[in-house]
């Protein structure tokens, strides 16, 4: 097992960069981070749209969320693989295809997280803001969202773990991420799948478990803070 790592660690870490796109573990983390970074503002906008007064906006966003919740991510990936280059009119690499699929899919899921955070705030918060004469937009951006995002931070971290795991599906459309690197090594060595897939699984585990544990730690802290405020 160690000799596989020793001989292939660069490939596992960064793929065949600089002769190709950044791949390997770095590719996985890059894809996951960029996707979260873009999906988050989208999800906040969607969560706000679902609480808005316009029925069309509300209905439209609600259908998107339901559609995403009812469709396997793999289906979204294949759609994206076909549609994104067609709609843009220029060729798009698999990395960005996967990025679009993850952003669309995760925005829907994250918007549920953010919405839950908004709805979990005591009604008194928005009432107090209204009683002070604060307009809706100021109330949203200075009172509601900061608290909702802070409170749902652990849930967001948990969702980041999901995104890391989901990037592995990029393998199916040829994204040069971590699973792809392992598959390439497997194709080279042919007869040592147990070791290669163990390395793959363990590495994913270490990364995802660290983030999941961090999420739990943050959640305990936030809950403690809230406990004080209930006094």
């Amino acid at each position: 097992m160690l000799d596989i790592i020793r001989e292939n660690w660069v490939l596992l870490l960064i793929g065949n960069y600089p002769h190709g796109p950044v791949g390997g573990l770095v590719g996985t983390l890059l894809l996951a981070s960029v996707s979260l970074l873009i999906a988050l503002p989208c999800s906040v906008a969607m969560a706000m749209a679902r609480n808005s007064h316009s029925r069309i906006l509300r209905g439209g966003v609600t259908s998107i969320v339901w559609l995403m919740r009812g469709t396997p991510l793999l289906m979204v990936v294949f759609w994206s693989n076909y549609l994104v280059p067609l709609l843009l009119g220029w060729p798009v690499g698999p990395f960005w295809v996967m990025f679009v699929a993850l952003v669309v899919y995760e925005s829907a899921y994250l918007s549920e997280v953010v919405r839950a955070g908004i709805n979990a705030l005591p009604r008194g918060q928005s009432e107090a803001a209204r009683a002070l004469g604060l307009p809706e937009s100021v109330t949203m951006f200075t009172i509601i969202l900061p608290q909702a995002l802070y409170n749902s931070f652990p849930a967001l971290l948990t969702q980041f773990v999901s995104i890391i795991k989901e990037t592995s599906l990029g393998f199916v459309i040829g994204v040069h991420e971590f699973t792809y690197s392992a598959a390439v090594i497997n194709a080279n060595l042919l007869v040592r799948p147990v070791e290669i897939f163990s390395i793959l699984a363990l590495t994913y585990f270490i990364i995802c478990f660290s983030f999941a544990s961090a999420a739990r730690w943050v959640e305990r802290r936030i809950r403690r803070n809230r406990g004080l405020s209930a006094q």
Partner: protein
């Protein structure tokens, strides 16, 4: 809510209809290549010695890559080889992500309808290999046997035509297909004679080759349909390479004496026979999808998805019950085991778990179990195990959260009334725990149903796999995707409604 669902369904159908109006506009790729200064070639990344990643330099090298470089040089631009999978290479070309396919691409009439071929640059024999001592001696005996092939390869297509009775199992690439062959999951494998030669050397294992080749195929470089200028340039380059001996030199470098193959070249660059005739055939229509065998494929895929979901659900629930029992045992090492199990199942991508079960697990099993797997649709069984064992972790967590949500006072009250430990569990705790964990369990079930699609990666013929297979044959991407999305969405919707109903009923109590 009902309106939102209607809108969602309308969106799927509307998207489908809208995309029909789009058609990729024709463009002159040669001009783009010249102004860009690079020629992007799609090459394989895992097929030695045509296109593969050299582990030392992590660069793509091989016979195909050298042809790519030579053609680029002839045009006067830089070559940029890009890895494409066998299955994705034609879609990638047609999507415009690459300019030229130099990717072990044999000529077939079906492919010639989708892309244009250059002159031939390689000739390969497709053969069938079987384990030593196999009772299969000629092609006819492959009927009703399991044969592996790389997804979308010519071998697969010829096999379907020549031996319609054979059960073809396709894999992401040739090495995966060979691994399945070596692990005895299939009775035979179809591949090129060169690949067979090379796999024999690399793996150190031995196997027999059926003498009669399944096909002799001519390979060409592929360009998008209608790219006359580029095709002309490519053909001119190939002809010049033949005349100057460069083509011969590349062959000798990879296959000649001194290589593991020690072959001599028996072909020359020349126009592919029948090449133009097939190009005249017209595109199919949308109605093609309704023709046999496609509706049957889709329906069969749908049923497989439901079976896969159902069986792995039962497995997951049983394991989750066991885990819950262990967790409540108050024996510390057992509790540790359960926590570790849950963390592993939740923090490793399901795809990786599925691949581990499929490629690695069988070799860890005793011989008897391996044998049983070979004879019992191993990819379906292993996918069920992977899904079941993974979801068991999620189920166990849901049940635990249900138990934890019961107020402490409940147990105290039961004790105060005189219930004993077991009776408290049986009459007070468990009924409440099940009710409280029902909503998360429903969500987990939805997750399980949708994630069963990941089984496509190991060749289970479930809905997503069949969808892709039909897409590959008909190129009616939008229609077939919309149909599959609708099928997934309908079942998900049923599950989501059920979950919402359960939650409402619980809220009332």
């Amino acid at each position: 809510m009902r309106r939102a669902i209607l809108a969602a369904v309308a969106a799927i159908l509307g998207l489908g209809a809208a995309i029909f109006l789009f058609a990729p506009e024709p463009s002159d790729t040669l001009q783009q290549v010249r102004s860009r200064g690079t020629l992007i070639c799609g090459v394989s990344s895992s097929i030695k010695p045509f296109g593969y990643l050299d582990p030392a330099s992590r660069e793509l090298v091989g016979y195909d890559v050298d042809f790519c470089r030579a053609v680029a040089e002839h045009i006067g631009v830089r070559a940029q080889p890009m890895a494409v999978s066998v299955e994705q290479r034609i879609p990638e070309l047609n999507a415009g992500r690459i300019d030229l396919l130099v990717s072990v691409l044999g000529w077939t009439p079906e492919r010639a309808r989708q892309i244009d071929y250059s002159h031939s640059y390689f000739v390969s024999r497709q053969v069938v290999i079987v384990p030593h001592g196999s009772d299969i001696r000629d092609l006819a005996e492959l009927a009703n046997r399991r044969v592996s092939a790389a997804k979308g390869s010519t071998g697969e297509q010829y096999l379907r035509v020549k031996v319609p009775g054979a059960a073809v199992l396709t894999f992401q690439d040739a090495p995966s297909a060979f691994l399945a062959f070596e692990q005895g999951k299939v009775d035979a494998m179809v591949l090129s004679d060169l690949a067979a030669m090379q796999l024999r050397q690399e793996s150190g294992s031995d196997f027999a080759t059926i003498r009669q080749p399944i096909a002799i195929e001519t390979w060409g470089l592929g360009v998008r349909k209608g790219e006359k200028a580029l095709l002309h340039q490519v053909n001119a380059a190939l002809t010049e390479m033949e005349v100057k001996g460069q083509a011969e030199a590349i062959f000798t470098k990879w296959f000649g004496p001194g290589t593991e193959f020690a072959q001599s070249r028996t072909f020359k660059v020349q126009p592919i026979a029948n090449g133009d005739q097939a190009a005249e055939q017209t595109d199919g229509t949308l109605l093609d999808l309704l023709k046999a065998p496609y509706p049957g494929w889709l329906w069969q895929g749908f049923l497989t998805t439901l079976h896969l979901t159902g069986l792995s659900w039962v497995l997951a629930f049983a394991i989750a019950m066991l885990l819950t029992g262990l967790r409540m045992s108050r024996v510390v090492p057992l509790q540790w085991f359960v926590s570790t199990y849950v963390e592993f199942s939740r923090n490793i991508p399901l795809l990786v778990q599925v691949m581990f079960w499929y490629f690695a697990m069988p070799s860890l099993l005793p011989d008897g179990a391996q044998l049983w797997l070979q004879n019992h649709n191993s990819e379906f069984v292993l996918a069920t195990c992977a899904l079941g064992f993974c979801l068991a972790g999620y189920f166990a967590e849901s049940i635990r959260s249900g138990i934890r949500a019961i107020p402490n006072g409940q147990e105290e009250a039961a004790r105060a009334l005189g219930f004993g430990g077991v009776k408290t569990l049986r009459f007070i705790i468990i009924p409440q725990a099940i009710r409280l964990s029902l909503p998360p369990l429903m969500n987990n079930t939805l997750l399980l149903f949708q994630n069963s699609s990941i089984a496509l990666a190991i060749g289970v013929h479930e809905l997503m796999y069949q969808t892709r297979a039909i897409e590959n044959e008909t190129y009616r991407t939008v229609a077939i995707f919309a149909l599959a999305t609708l099928m997934y969405f309908s079942v998900s919707l049923l599950l989501m409604f059920q979950a919402a109903r359960v939650e409402r009923r619980l809220a009332k109590r």
